[in-house]
Symmetry: C2
Subunit: 338 residues, 2 copies
DNA sequence: TTGAAAGCGCTAACAA
DNA sequence: TTGTTAGCGCTTTCAA
């Protein structure tokens, strides 16, 4: 059923039907009613492609993420979707499974489909990976940082300061032998986090010790192993700052398996404040990253670009804050039901 | 840059360019080379909509889920995406936030966009909600059950049997005062789970006790409250079967907050085997639902429908299995690193 | 092996 | 307020 058949059935021209669809206020009440009734009866839905051929925009955005099955990213996705839906946009979701080749393929695929805008979450891609997208003048917003300076609009947090805060907290409550289990290059912000850790040590006049730094993939399993090794060195640390909550959970397991107590023997601070962090035992002290907000602001930034057609780059930095719980040995329990 | 400009630049007709794109074997080697070079140089990508106007299929599927920020659903989504990507399809992700009005809106939106197929996860929608989709002859696959019999192809597990298994396990290891904290209607399978629980009790000759059944929304918080109440009745249960791991985590908190020990005072069995369940203390005994597989099989079923154009309905039931961990009081620890 | 031209379903400029 | 019609960018039939 196409517009011509509807027009014939209603005894009007295709132009009138089109008007009912797109500018209903310009058509007489009676005609409109009649056409609408026919469309209803015939269950007519205009052809999306024919429409797209005439309109510039597709009301579609692409959302490219490293991996969906990670609460960090699914919360960001949710934030983006909340805004997009309200705007009448729909999302192409692309999980590139931490595989840069796949990521590039998605960018090309999305550009071909004429998305109105692209949000790339925690990308490690270099500038030229985005070429197909930029060539098509598709606005891009980065969310959660990137490992290169790409000159796009971006929403992120200050990972360095946040990491420094976490380390400072450990220092403030009396620790000096503080190790860091850092994520590897799969986390585009690992470098910043490491800088923050070193900064806080430096401020406090604590010497950075090579043997107190372990780099591991952002996985519970690898963090578990890294923590085990850390606990077996000559003078093991009394506290650990772990680059992601995900890893911190693995670290907690390692500590327990060594028959050490948290926080009495080893204090632990994580990063991200994913939901699980307040469910493990003991509750994990961590840095709250406003994940949902990252998504929301990212989407807003993108729609600003799409709608205004201005290509002024913006950088939004959101606030983080420490979530003090039991795993870091703070004296009082800061009460939270969960 | 459109096909006409490419044609002019290459000194051929648009038909030839189109052929290079769609039936390269029918064009002379030299012409093809030349056209391809020009396309390369000009970074030409054919207009998706113009193409869609001529082709029947869009290489796009819709995926509608109750909420993304729930590990149960994100794992299913991942399963679907793994298959879709390999097939060259891309996904419209729609999270309807447990809001049926929104769900319906998404169905309409997706039908309008001429998706090739639809996967609805754990839907509670009635038949007529799908009307726009079925009218457009778009194949539908349900994943993870539904609350109505809609006559679509479906991938699910036998929730009744799985729940019965969980309850039987508690019975087998010696419990008789077994309560159930059941999810409410937001979980389309809550009814089946309840039936399983009652079935197992019945088999063992244990009387069903109204006061041992609590219905709660599928949230940690509400499950927490339900469990608290359950522990305050005259003859509190010694074991609890909880309809989702998510809720079980809340229940565990409630038990701990009552200064009771798990599993010594109260044994707990969950449902789903989400990742967190093996990270909480004590590790949660639960029923493993093959979430990723649900997604994979759902997608395969859908592509069968899309490609074969046969509309034979299929029902696939996947196997579940008990994951015995510490929370249910089993004597030996079934070792798992995490 | 290639080109000319019709047509996919819609929108909007222009005319009435 | 409504109708006629050109055109969006592509594919494909038919003819050369």
């Amino acid at each position: 059923m196409n517009i011509r058949e509807i027009a014939k059935a209603a005894g009007v021209s295709v132009a009138t039907v089109s008007r009912v669809l797109n500018h209903p206020e310009t058509v007489a009440e009676n005609t409109k009613k009649k056409v609408q009734r026919i469309m209803e009866e015939e269950e007519y839905t205009p052809n999306w492609f024919a429409r797209g051929l005439n309109f510039a925009n597709t009301n579609t955005i692409g959302l490219v993420i490293p991996q969906l099955v990670d609460p960090v990213y699914s919360e960001i996705v949710k934030g983006v979707e909340d805004v997009a839906t309200r705007k009448g946009y729909i999302i192409f979701l692309c999980d590139f499974a931490n595989d840069q080749t796949l990521e590039k393929m998605y960018f090309e695929q999305l550009a071909r489909r004429r998305i109105d805008g692209l949000i790339a979450v925690s990308t490690r891609a270099e500038s030229k990976i985005f070429d197909t997208v930029t060539e098509n003048n598709i606005p891009i917003v980065l969310v959660g940082g990137s490992s290169h300076d790409l000159g796009f609009s971006m929403v992120k947090v200050n990972y360095r300061e946040a990491a420094a805060d976490a380390t400072r907290h450990l220092i403030n409550i009396g620790y000096r032998k503080i190790a860091m289990i850092c994520s590897d290059h799969t986390d585009p912000n690992s470098e910043e986090k490491l800088q923050g850790y070193r900064l806080a040590l430096h401020e406090a006049g604590i010497l950075f010790r090579e043997e107190y730094l372990k780099i591991a993939e952002d996985k519970m399993e690898t963090a578990y192993l890294a923590a085990k090794k850390l606990l077996e060195i000559e003078e093991p640390p009394e506290a650990m700052f772990v680059a992601t909550d995900n890893m911190a959970i693995g670290v907690m397991d390692a500590v327990k398996d060594k028959d050490l107590k948290i926080p009495e023997d080893v204090a632990i601070v994580g990063f991200d404040n994913i939901q699980i962090s307040k469910m493990v035992e003991p509750r994990l002290t961590t840095v709250d990253i406003p994940l949902h907000k990252l998504g929301v602001y990212g989407a807003r930034l993108l729609f600003d670009l799409i709608e205004s057609d201005v290509s002024e780059k913006q950088q939004i930095v959101l606030q983080t804050k420490m979530k003090i719980r039991k795993s870091c040995g703070h004296k009082e329990r800061i009460g939270e039901l969960f």
